[in-house]
């Protein structure tokens, strides 16, 4: 089974918290990897929130190719952070030679462009980099976006934490939102891109489950947007649907649930908004999901949310204290991070709701 977790806090949080969150659920996953996406960065990245940061795992050659391409495109590097690694023998990690987090200033010609144009450029740049580094597995470009860093690696999460010195809290590498997952997917090959969380243009999604409409979703999404590529995991479909519904179509987040787990026709018929819901169901029937799933998502404005499939066959718990909210597949993960919270206020979301955490940590429960 897979386990997923997320932390959203008013304060900057170190990834060691995410490791702790997942470690306590270690019996529930197969220790085959660790991946996390951090939004709303603190530490050394705090001063560069408006500039895109590249998260890259690569060979020496891959690093050169990537940097050359970025420079050729006019991006100016303003910050580079290479995590110190502890490469002691015996660690279960299948590490790439280099991990770099580099922040760039935009090319001059686009500095005055609209936010939308910049966002399209960043996506194109990431896709180009990804394509260029695919040969001989020169590198993996996980994200290239302002205020976001991503780390994904294959191996035992504990050892991955040790390798990157993530068990030792510090103030250099922190974020207000961290999403994490500890397992490589089992449906398809183990490749770094297949590890959750997935990221696209400010949106992050990770899931515990199996999307049995993967084939349908994939066939439809491929033609919807140039960024919908890879499909190394059936859970990428959740991200692409989120991106499509919320960003491309511009529909409020609440409709994401109506797209992926539409109400039965009979229930739709009793609703005031039956006309809209039926139109959504029929036009986006290929984005419907099936199978047991729990999804955690992060929006570009750092809103954190979770929802389940329509039959709620996978668990998720939401625990909170005054300054932190934690999502976890198992409650033991929350107990680890927030031992003193009032557990009676924990939320066990049902199959027809979205639990949304805004930047003030206000918890909203939207019934579908």
């Amino acid at each position: 089974m897979c386990r997923i977790g997320a932390i959203k806090s008013l304060n900057y949080v170190h990834p060691s918290q995410a490791l702790l969150l997942m470690q306590s659920q270690q019996k529930g996953h197969d220790n085959s990897g660790f991946a996390m996406v951090m939004h709303d960065l603190g530490g050394i990245f705090e001063g560069y929130k408006h500039l895109p940061t590249l998260s890259l795992a690569c060979t020496d050659e891959g690093l050169k190719v990537a940097e050359d391409m970025l420079h050729a495109a006019g991006f100016q590097r303003v910050l580079q952070w290479v995590p110190e690694v502890n490469d002691r023998p015996g660690l279960d990690i299948n590490a790439m030679p280099n991990y770099v987090f580099e922040t760039f200033d935009y090319p001059k010609h686009i500095k005055k462009s609209s936010q939308k144009e910049k966002e399209e450029l960043l996506l194109d740049m990431r896709l180009n980099l990804r394509a260029a580094l695919e040969d001989d597995e020169m590198g993996f470009v996980y994200s290239f976006w302002p205020d976001v860093v991503t780390l994904k690696e294959i191996g035992d999460p504990r050892d991955i934490g040790t390798y990157f010195n993530l068990w030792e809290p510090d103030t250099k590498f922190t974020a207000r939102v961290i999403t994490a997952q500890c397992r490589q997917n089992t449906n398809y090959d183990i490749v770094r891109y297949a590890a959750h969380p997935f990221f696209l243009q400010g949106f992050t999604a990770l899931a515990n489950g199996e999307n049995t409409f993967y084939q349908k979703n994939k066939e439809f999404q491929r033609k919807l947007h140039r960024g919908y590529i890879g499909f190394e995991s059936d859970s990428q479909c959740f991200l692409y649907s989120l991106h499509y519904v919320h960003r491309q179509l511009g529909w409020p987040l609440s409709y994401y649930k109506h797209v992926i787990t539409p109400l039965p026709f009979e229930e739709i018929g009793h609703r005031d908004d039956a006309q809209e819901l039926q139109a959504i169901r029929q036009s986006l029937s290929h984005l419907e999901i099936n199978g047991p799933n729990t999804i955690i998502g992060v929006l570009p404005d750092n809103t954190l949310f979770t929802c389940c499939d329509a039959k709620k066959l996978r668990p998720i718990v939401v625990g909170r204290s005054s300054d932190t909210v934690v999502f976890s597949s198992e409650v033991c993960g929350i107990n680890e991070i927030l031992p003193d919270r009032d557990w009676e206020t924990d939320i066990y979301p049902n199959e027809r709701e979205i639990v949304v955490i805004d930047n003030n940590l206000e918890v909203q429960r939207w019934k579908q």
């Binding site: 199996e210 529909w251 047991p292």
Partner: protein
């Protein structure tokens, strides 16, 4: 003794021979009365008996006249093997036997100088069915638990109507953060994924048609299954047009436009919109050929509904005045959509063909978004009447063609915009749920079926040459006849009951197929759920090959 003439027709030339056991026959006459084809007749045979009564052989001869039943030697009144004589015989004294050595296909043509016509299905069985080489091979287990067909809820509905791509939905976000409709969209009806295919009230007896219509009403009103029935080309009784049950009917217009005068005249009096409109361009069982209703079947009420004299009614092979696909779109747009003020979805039915994908592409790219369904009809479907050469030798199997159309839509990112409905021999083995399910996995939104409905009603024909006399108006089961005596053999209520029960069984079976793959909605396009042990089939359909 009469000289033997080689060209005389004898039972040996005919496809069926009558087995008759005079020793069991009570001469009740039931078989002769029941044979709608007049293929058997009473006859008096002269018999000679040689006997001896004494202690020593003293042969004597006695002649007697014995009434018997014998087979008629005629290519007009030949036995179709329907077995009605056997059904009515109290003593099992008579019945048809297949004559594999017959010369029927030759002598009929030689004597009549006309093409052979019949009803039924393709009668050349050279290969096994593709659908039987597919299995539902992706079973949900540990990580993705299967569902419970009894306990869980399932949405067994399919769209009929043009579906807009999401980006074209006329939505705006309102002040309350909710989507609001700001414009008009094409009408879409969500209906049961198995439509009762288009069989006209001329092809079917009025009692059969009534039975089907009753079943549809019962399924909708009592069972909660929104099953729709297509009228076929040939009009609809005015009483039904004016009734609330019209909402369960898909009205068909085909190249003969039969019955449309009455439909148009009834429009101001309609209290409900029809479920949809189906423009028939072609039919899978006789592609490239129009409808055929022989004069024998053009009874008075058919003449009234269609507004025609008693004559062979031949729909032209194509819509006169239809020049191109673009024009067909225009035609639909102008006449059918506008007729019901854009409230009723309009779909098109074509015969599966090597060119189907081009036709589909043209329609799916139409900028007016008005084609509300692509009904693709493959070979192996049934028909009331056609030239045998068409039935047996023209047409295209449905499975790969449906898949081609779906994949063509996928390639363009347009899957689902024009719902795909497939037919053509589905349910041929009696198990429509499995066939429908597999077709949906390959990309169909739903299926339609005609021949199987007749079989539910009691049709005794099969695709190995048995009966297949739908064209003659002499249907021994009272299904495809307008002869009152024959039609009254059929109990419309029993027909309705059989159809309703079959649908209820099929509904259960569809759930029994959906549950193991863990799906609560129809598995349209879930080709990953299918496997095939036939490599060629797997490759052609782009599904997993297993062994």
């Amino acid at each position: 003794m009469e000289t033997m003439k080689i060209h005389d027709i004898t039972p040996n030339d005919l496809p069926w021979k009558i087995r008759y056991d005079a020793s069991r026959c009570t001469l009740c006459g039931s078989c002769v009365a029941a044979c709608s084809f007049r293929a058997i007749a009473p006859k008096v045979e002269r018999r000679r008996m040689v006997f001896s009564e004494g202690d020593f052989p003293e042969p004597k001869t006695r002649f007697s006249a014995v009434p018997v039943i014998r087979q008629v030697h005629s290519i007009k009144n030949y036995c179709r093997g329907c077995g009605i004589c056997e059904k009515v015989c109290p003593n099992d004294a008579i019945g048809p036997l297949r004559n594999v050595d017959n010369r029927h296909s030759i002598v009929t043509r030689c004597l009549a100088g006309d093409s052979v016509k019949r009803g039924g299905r393709k009668n050349l069985e050279s290969t096994s069915r593709t659908l039987d080489r597919l299995r539902v091979g992706r079973i949900s287990q540990m990580t993705d638990p299967s569902l419970d067909a009894q306990r869980h809820t399932f949405d067994l509905l399919a769209p009929f109507g043009r579906i807009l791509p999401p980006g074209k939905l006329p939505f705006a976000v309102g002040a309350d953060g909710k989507l609001q409709t700001t414009g008009q969209s094409p009408p879409v009806r969500w209906i049961y994924p198995v439509i009762i295919g288009d069989m006209s009230i001329g092809a079917l007896s009025w009692r059969m048609w009534e039975g089907v219509a009753m079943a549809v009403a019962y399924l909708n009103e009592e069972c909660g299954l929104p099953v729709r029935m297509c009228s076929g080309e040939g009009g609809v009784p005015v009483r039904l047009l004016k009734s609330k049950y019209l909402k369960y009917m898909i009205l068909q217009i085909a190249s003969g436009h039969f019955g449309w005068n009455r439909i148009l005249k009834a429009m101001p009096h309609m209290t409900e919109d029809p479920a949809g409109m189906l423009i028939k361009i072609g039919q899978g069982a006789k592609p490239g050929d129009g409808g055929l209703l022989m004069a024998q079947k053009v009874a008075e009420h058919i003449q009234a509904i269609r507004g025609v004299p008693k004559a062979d009614l031949l729909s032209p092979p194509n819509h006169q005045g239809l020049y191109s696909i673009e024009e067909s779109v225009q035609k639909m747009f102008l006449s059918m959509n506008a007729a019901f003020k854009f409230r009723v979805p309009v779909a098109i039915k074509v015969a599966a063909s090597a060119t189907s994908v081009s036709v589909f592409n043209n329609l799916v790219r139409d900028p007016y978004n008005i084609v509300g369904g692509f009904f693709l009809d493959g070979i192996d479907g049934g028909t009331g009447a056609a030239h045998e050469v068409s039935l047996d030798h023209t047409g295209h199997p449905i499975v790969s063609k449906l898949r081609d159309c779906y994949l063509a839509a996928v390639t363009q990112g347009r899957q689902g915009q024009i719902p795909l409905w497939a037919a053509g021999g589905l349910g041929k083995t009696g198990d429509l749920a499995a066939d429908a399910f597999k077709m949906m996995c390959l990309g169909a939104n739903g299926v339609f079926t005609g021949k199987l409905i007749l079989q539910m009603a009691g049709c005794v024909g099969n695709d190995m040459g048995r009966c297949n006399a739908c064209n003659t108006g002499l249907c021994p089961a009272g299904i495809t006849t307008q002869e009152p005596a024959l039609a009254h053999r059929l109990d419309p209520e029993k027909v309705a009951q059989n159809i309703v029960n079959y649908y209820l069984a099929m509904d259960q079976e569809l759930k029994k197929l959906m549950a193991p793959i863990g799906n609560s909605s129809l598995p349209v396009g879930r080709s990953d759920a299918l496997v095939s042990t036939d490599r060629a089939v797997a490759e052609r359909l782009q599904i997993q090959y297993v062994c």
